[in-house]
Symmetry: C2
Subunit: 427 residues, 2 copies
């Protein structure tokens, strides 16, 4: 772990630098697969499934029989756990529903804003031995509350042509309409263009490796929206002597086990606390099954001592962490001044993993400093706001002259005429 | 105008096809300017201003003296008009403020969502003889209501090194913090990387030609967000025999005068009405100052007759118009079923130009079918939602077991440990 004491503001950029990813070589591969799938559809998808997943599938669509089987394969304990998480996520995302906003801006000028669901959305869930079924809850639950009509899910099959039962179970429970055994770039391309089997969608959500990440970026060139640009997961903990070093060490490690490129930062106003966390990390890391991954991430981690709370909060806003754990005496000071963070976890009994799974907040959050300008996934991510207006005869007489003057000043005579004609008809 | 009667659903895609824009050659130019400005800053910007705007500037920053002068140059009539528009836009966007949403999802698990302003935003306003000062109102007013700390504006200077007074007047009135005389690709690159003079921003808003549009897309590769991807402006009118052919023709023409690539579509359940509108367009177009532009757009326009209202609404959802005027007897039927539209203008006295200038709704709207998945600019475009959670000892005991089970099933032991440590400490 790298200890840094009171870095100068001029050094912050360097200290907080995230590893840059080079995507240009990946881009060529992605573009090639996109072109092929646009032209060839299902048969090309099938070839890639054979090539990358090592399996020839009779059918990419998961059958209702497979879903029924998955229900039997999940333990009752895990079912109850998923149900509790689902309840909490539902409560929190349902509360985000907004009402129609209606304003009579001038006499007879009625304007309103309504949110309507995106009709077709696609979710991507990576494969592998650790099935990320929690992400299905985070995406399919709000999609359903929003009222999306079609919610499809793509995930790669294993060598036996199967999908992990936890993924099928969660997808079915959360109202996914169709599940396809398609992974990687070919999944993103299929949801972008549509194939004979896979319908095209308007917006694609979900995590993935760098091929999937770049594929999602490329998809936006073809008119599809994505949840947000992605980077490696990250955690910043701000703690003082009121925090528990063992708890903080466990949180840093839970971030570190995600991947060797995970970003782990501790900021503290106490040198003693930093030393205590360092010792705890060394102890706790020993028994982790994903120790090798965690060790690499921890080797790159930063323990930053600053001597004032104001400096700390400025540094944190400069970084804009995806996950931000706050264990300090003076919570209010930090909360009031934090502008750039994806999700904030407050106090000694609020580990990041609570938000990853079960507290109810969403775990799809802006990485890579994007918390400065992007929201995490929330109910509105599955809707778009539309405006409406209805102007009466009285209303157009009220604002007509203003429109005429402004249109004329912008040199747009036909814009003016549209009003003049109406005003004249009322004379 | 192209008349199409009852097109088959299989032909809709072709009938509703928008002209595709080729961006690949523009991309090379944009990438080159970006690299140069990233490396060279102000001096490179200054060279491009000389090259493209034909002027050598002492200083890119607009002085307070220039702003004071602009105030004197605007007529009192136009000032009053801008003030009325500003009032209405303020009313409608202030009403979009959302409260903090707090939910205790389980006993002792307190979650909340808050929206906080994007700290630094940049607005781009094109130059030319017709100054689009109305767009400044549409962007700077909500940015101010949101509480953005830095709101900068870039706009190209004319050959005398000046900016149109209406732009300076509107920017000053609406709380823009700094105005820079920089246009085109160099403006977008400057706001992306920052120069000695121009601060970098987190999100860029505003219209522009195809160079600016591509530059905004490229900016997203460097971690900057943009309002939305852009395409030519478009209007779809749905009208039946209760509509006024002269009014509808004036609306189609107000769209057509924007540019030769403007999209103009009329859908109707009445052949007679279509003929009447066609005749009116031919009449009204004669006297327009921008007649040549309008004629080209009108030549590509489509008048589509369909024999049922259901078919009409399906076709409109398939198209997803930016502006959608609805002049029909059965308004409710259409409103209820419209999912894909940027802004809807209802009834005979609601021209599109009302929303362009003064009714209060925003005129920065999704084009190119993006209404299927993107919102128009609104208050939330200048904010991001963040989540917070605070879990008590009771709370972690309530959901701890669920987190442990789910983390274990995903193979993430350190995630589980972060909870187990806390639960054990409470035993």
């Amino acid at each position: 772990m790298n200890k840094i004491y009171n870095p100068e503001r001029s050094q912050w950029k360097a200290v907080l630098k995230r590893p840059t990813q080079s995507v240009s070589d990946v881009e060529d591969i992605v573009n090639a697969v996109f072109s092929e799938i646009k032209a060839g559809g299902d048969s090309v998808v099938s070839n890639y499934t054979k090539k990358f997943d090592g399996v020839v599938l009779q059918e990419a669509l998961v059958s209702s029989k497979e879903i029924e089987e998955s229900i039997k394969l999940i333990s009752n304990d895990l079912k109850s756990a998923i149900q509790q998480a689902k309840n909490n996520i539902e409560k929190f995302h349902k509360a985000q529903k907004t009402e129609k906003i209606t304003v009579e801006t001038a006499d007879g000028v009625l304007c309103w804003q309504e949110k309507r669901p995106i009709q077709k959305v696609g979710l991507y869930i990576p494969g592998g031995t650790a099935p990320l079924f929690s992400t299905i809850l985070m995406l399919a639950i709000p999609a359903n509350i929003a009222g999306c009509k079609e919610i499809i899910l793509c995930t790669p099959p294993n060598k036996e042509g199967k999908v992990h039962p936890a993924i099928l179970y969660a997808a079915n429970l959360c109202g996914v309409t169709k599940i396809f055994k398609v992974g990687g770039i070919q999944a993103i391309a299929s949801m972008t263009f549509g194939t004979e089997t896979i319908p095209p969608v308007y917006k694609i959500f979900g995590p993935g490796n760098q091929f999937v990440t770049v594929a999602k970026q490329i998809a936006t060139k073809y008119g599809v929206a994505i949840d947000m640009p992605a980077g490696p997961s990250e955690l910043l903990v701000m703690a003082d002597d009121t925090a528990n070093a063992a708890f903080v060490a466990s949180d840093l490690l839970s971030q570190a086990e995600h991947g060797v490129d995970s970003q782990v930062i501790l900021v503290s106003t106490s040198k003693n606390f930093i030393d205590a966390v360092e010792a705890e990390v060394a102890e706790q890391i020993k028994d982790l099954p994903r120790k090798e991954i965690a060790e690499k991430a921890i080797a790159n981690s930063k323990l930053i001592y600053v001597d004032s709370q104001q400096t700390a909060v400025d540094l944190i806003n400069e970084y804009g962490p995806e996950h931000y754990i706050l264990c300090v005496k003076n919570e209010e000071f930090f909360l009031r001044q934090t502008y750039n963070a994806g999700s904030v976890f407050i106090g000694n009994y609020t580990p990041e993993s609570a938000g990853d799974y079960a507290s109810g907040t969403n775990h799809t959050l802006p990485t890579n400093g994007y918390a400065k300008q992007y929201s995490g996934v929330n109910l509105d991510s599955f809707m778009k706001s539309m405006t409406f207006q209805k102007i009466s005869k009285k209303g157009i007489q009220e604002i007509g002259r203003t429109i005429e003057l402004m249109a004329e000043a912008e040199g747009l005579q036909a814009h003016k005429n549209a009003v003049t004609l109406r005003l004249d008809s009322l004379k």
